[in-house]
Symmetry: C2
Subunit: 133 residues, 2 copies
């Protein structure tokens, strides 16, 4: 498995753990570091492993745990740090996410997650770039 494949696997692991309401798997994919952080849609950033995992516990045990699916992940590797940009589909709505990972041995673990509203599904391009020098 290439580095990129391992990274995309880790990203998919996160979303399957979230959709599967699997808090043990979420504990596994988040980096074992006190400095992890998470910005849920419309929230302020949560800093630290305790706050981040407690937020997922709260969401998963709440009345409407999200049936979330990851779409169109795009991976950027920068040595032992990497990030994935992707869309999230939730019951007909779309979010866009930035997920930062760090390498632990041969595994990628989630360091920071930020999700917010998206303009449209990932296939649609709403902006046509022109020349910039």
């Amino acid at each position: 498995m290439s580095d990129r494949q391992a990274l995309l696997f880790a990203n998919e692991f996160f979303y399957r753990a979230f959709a599967g309401r699997d808090l043990d798997a979420l504990r596994e994919i988040w980096a074992d570091s006190p400095h992890i952080s998470c910005t849920h849609p419309g929230w302020n950033p949560l800093i630290g492993r305790v706050a981040v995992l407690e937020s997922f516990r709260s969401i998963l045990q709440g009345p409407n745990p999200p049936d979330v699916q990851c779409l169109a992940p795009d991976a950027v590797l920068l040595g032992d740090v990497a990030y994935v940009l992707c869309h999230e589909a939730l019951g007909g709505h779309f979010l866009t996410a930035t997920n930062i990972f760090i390498r632990h041995g041969r595994q990628w673990r989630l360091q920071h997650h930020h999700a917010g509203p998206a303009a449209s599904p990932p296939e649609t391009t709403e902006f046509q770039p022109g020349p910039v020098n």
Copy 2:
């Protein structure tokens, strides 16, 4: 200047360039890489230096260029990659941002920017974490 100070300086440089409608300074702070990316609030991610810089040109030349201010930046350094979490104040509204930087020599350059709605100003904590093992 420490690495952390240089990183926070670069983050502040980005916001001053944005608020100052200084496209030349924005060209300078964004990494000189074809793989930079930017998720403006409510937009889909823009990929590539041409698309990213053209979006800033469009916003700055539009009817309501933002009078944006960075608040409460929190820096995380991971070798030659780093990120800053911060709030953005825009005329009484608040956003929260994730800004990923990469090191170019002694300078930090912006690799990815993602901004979305925040729950409140940065001083307010809306979530009280409990114990998680």
